[in-house]
């Protein structure tokens, strides 16, 4: 199975390379290291959100509230910064992670303790969180003039040749990779996705594991809230509107199975990078940005067809005899 997953990521990496080569053939300046780093930096927020979403999807759940969580925490941190510019930015970032995790915990508690299906819970909180962002701001925007210089500049600082925003994504990716592959929690995410009943018998608390996945997704959405607001230097109720579907799309393209239990950190990152690359390449090759939506739609459909064929080939061998017998 491991080999199968690896080949999937290889395929995706090759698709990304193919897009790169095709664009570069016509526009040699596209593939310069500087531009590639820009694409990576622009995709950082999507990558972090995709990693949180992956943890949730692995447990057979879904988190539709990430973009609203981002908008709410982003709005709260921007308002706090505008009102109290003396609060140091690292403290604000910690606050964002905390607020985001709390919102995620709210989703998780409803899924864990009340057994409400995740899609219903997060459909509700999707509208509630964004509505609260409006209430908190009174419908106004927080713009660059109201933000402190530190607040705007922190993620733009360059460290070892990379912007701090990119470092955020790299550190998060490494941490989530360790969590997924080297800890009991990571194994529990996969275990309850592959077979919840078996997971219960091995002593895994399914509800609590889902709760943890939602907290992780919420915490990353909270962190993304600060990064998004300071990157685009504006906090509005509409921040990242509809972005939850892009995040899920990145996961699906990255080979994360919506049925749970299948998905890797590398896959989710590549899925996000693929979307980031396509979005960045379209204007360069002179395609109207209005094509973007249809192209990502086609990419999702192709990815899900590929996912399904690779997932199916796993179970077939066992079932063949039964099928013949039936």
């Amino acid at each position: 199975m491991n080999r199968l997953l690896k080949s999937r990521e290889l395929w995706l990496a090759m698709a990304i390379l193919a897009v790169l080569v095709l664009v570069t053939l016509r526009f040699p300046r596209f593939a310069t290291p500087g531009n590639l780093l820009t694409i990576f930096n622009d995709t950082s927020i999507l990558m972090m959100l995709a990693l949180g979403q992956m943890a949730v999807i692995l447990t057979r759940s879904i988190d539709l509230s990430v973009a609203s969580n981002l908008a709410l925490t982003g709005m709260l941190v921007a308002l706090t910064n505008a009102a109290f510019p003396m609060i140091p930015v690292p403290l604000l970032i910690a606050g964002c992670v905390l607020v985001g995790a709390t919102l995620g915990a709210f989703n998780g508690i409803l899924v864990w303790k009340l057994n409400i299906p995740p899609i219903v819970v997060t459909l509700g909180t999707l509208t509630i969180f964004r509505g609260l962002a409006f209430v908190a701001s009174g419908g106004t925007w927080v713009n660059a003039a109201q933000m402190s210089p530190d607040f705007i500049q922190l993620q733009r600082g360059v460290f070892l040749g990379l912007p701090v925003l990119s470092w955020f994504a790299i550190v998060v990716a490494v941490l989530v990779y360790i969590l997924m592959t080297r800890t009991p929690w990571g194994r529990a995410f996969y275990a309850i996705g592959v077979n919840p009943t078996a997971a219960v018998y091995t002593g895994i608390n399914v509800g609590r594991t889902k709760f943890l996945a939602f907290v992780l997704s919420g915490a990353l959405a909270g962190l993304a809230g600060y990064l998004y607001v300071s990157k685009y230097v504006i906090a509005s109720t509409e921040s990242a509107g509809g972005y939850e579907l892009t995040v899920i799309a990145a996961c699906v393209i990255g080979g994360v199975s919506i049925a749970g239990g299948i998905g890797t950190v590398g896959g989710a990152l590549l899925g996000a990078l693929f979307l980031g690359l396509v979005n960045n390449a379209l204007p360069v090759i002179g395609v109207s940005p209005f094509w973007q939506m249809a192209i990502s739609g086609v990419a999702i459909l192709l990815a899900v067809v590929l996912n399904a064929t690779s997932e199916r080939s796993k179970g077939r061998i066992i079932l063949k005899k039964a099928e013949v017998a039936a």
Binding site: T125, L126, F134, L245, G297, V298, L301, A308
Partner: protein, 333 residues
């Protein structure tokens, strides 16, 4: 029967509410909620209790309600269709395009409805023909359908629909009774009979409770699911005609976010999101509730985005309350 369904599920975290008695009390609970909101509205605004106000109210939910009727069946079989709003966008855009080529009203309606059915068939083919999970398929087609609308329209819009076409969205059949409301009520009756009084409806429930068992007892699972996706496409096409006629123009962003409202209506109406249980009456009452809430808050000058807090909370609270009550009862026993 509930024992069989509880162990036959793929997901262990299902609601245990679809017991028959619970369904009965669910609808009465919804009626109570609707009455409470109606009364609250009457006290809150002096403009509420007026035939024309109440007539305007119905425009808030008829288009979404029409789709919710078909969506209820899809969700009962354990699938979901998130692309409905994008089908509206594509159908409306192609109607606008047909208008540019001088199409008359019947042609416009045919284009809208036809595009809806084709989009639904495409979803249905991907889900049943290629055996893909419907939630991902329809997230994909959601981008694809609206994406095509954006490719055609960009930042432009289509205007100038003929008055005979506008009647579908703005016309009244009798006094304050709008064509949209009549169509919704007729469709509700048709779907009620289809789901609760035909073999087809019984098969829909059978698939939702245990698709494998249904397959082995001779139900053509894939064919029924395909038909249901086409039906949802059809209703989305009809909704596209009504909405385009009511607004009088088409932009690619038309009906954005409708899919979530439609799913909210269906779930609020007591349809289990995990499939196998639900009723059309519940969905119709839920549609009225959503209409009452949004219209009532609108009369009080509450901004649209704040209303979404109410609908979102309503969704969670109405589902959480019976569960909490059950837990509380079990603790006492």
């Amino acid at each position: 029967m509930s024992d069989i369904t509880a162990t036959g599920r793929r997901l262990p975290d299902r609601l245990d509410n679809p017991v028959k008695s619970a369904v009965m009390s669910w609808e009465s609970l919804l009626v109570l909620v609707a009455l409470a909101i109606f009364l609250a509205n009457s006290f809150a605004s002096p403009y509420f209790l007026n035939a024309w106000s109440l007539s305007d109210l119905t425009f808030n939910f008829t288009e979404k309600g029409l789709i919710a009727l078909a969506m209820a069946l899809v969700i009962i079989t354990g699938e979901i269709d998130l692309s409905v709003a994008s089908i509206i966008a594509l159908a409306s855009t192609l109607m606008g395009l047909a208008l540019q080529y001088g199409a008359d009203t019947p042609t416009l309606v045919a284009v809208g409805v036809g595009v809806g059915v084709l989009c639904g068939a495409f979803n249905g083919f991907l889900v049943t023909g290629l055996k893909l999970p419907s939630i991902v398929v329809t997230i994909g087609t959601m981008s694809l359908f609206r994406g095509i609308a954006y490719i055609i329209l960009g930042d432009q819009s289509f205007k100038g629909y003929p008055p005979s076409f506008s009647w579908f969205g703005q016309g009244y059949v009798w006094w304050v009774i709008s064509f949209e409301l009549v169509l919704f009520l007729v469709a509700a009756v048709v779907f009620y009979v289809l789901l609760h009084h035909t073999n087809f409806g019984r098969r829909v429930f059978a698939i939702g409770n245990n698709a494998t068992a249904a397959q082995f007892s001779g139900v053509r699972v894939d064919r029924i699911k395909f038909v249901l996706f086409c039906l949802t496409g059809l209703m989305s096409g009809i909704a596209a005609v009504l909405l385009t006629a009511r607004l009088g123009s088409t932009r690619p962003s038309i009906a954005e976010g409708f899919e979530l409202d439609v799913v909210t209506m269906v779930v609020l109406g007591g349809v289990s999101i995990l499939g196998g249980a639900g009723s059309i009456i519940g969905v119709v009452i839920a549609a009225f509730i959503i209409g009452l809430v949004t219209f009532g808050l609108g009369l009080l000058n509450v901004p649209g985005i704040v209303m979404t807090i109410f609908t979102g909370s309503l969704l969670i609270v109405v589902i959480a309350l019976p569960i909490l009550w059950k837990m509380w009862k079990e603790r006492r026993a």
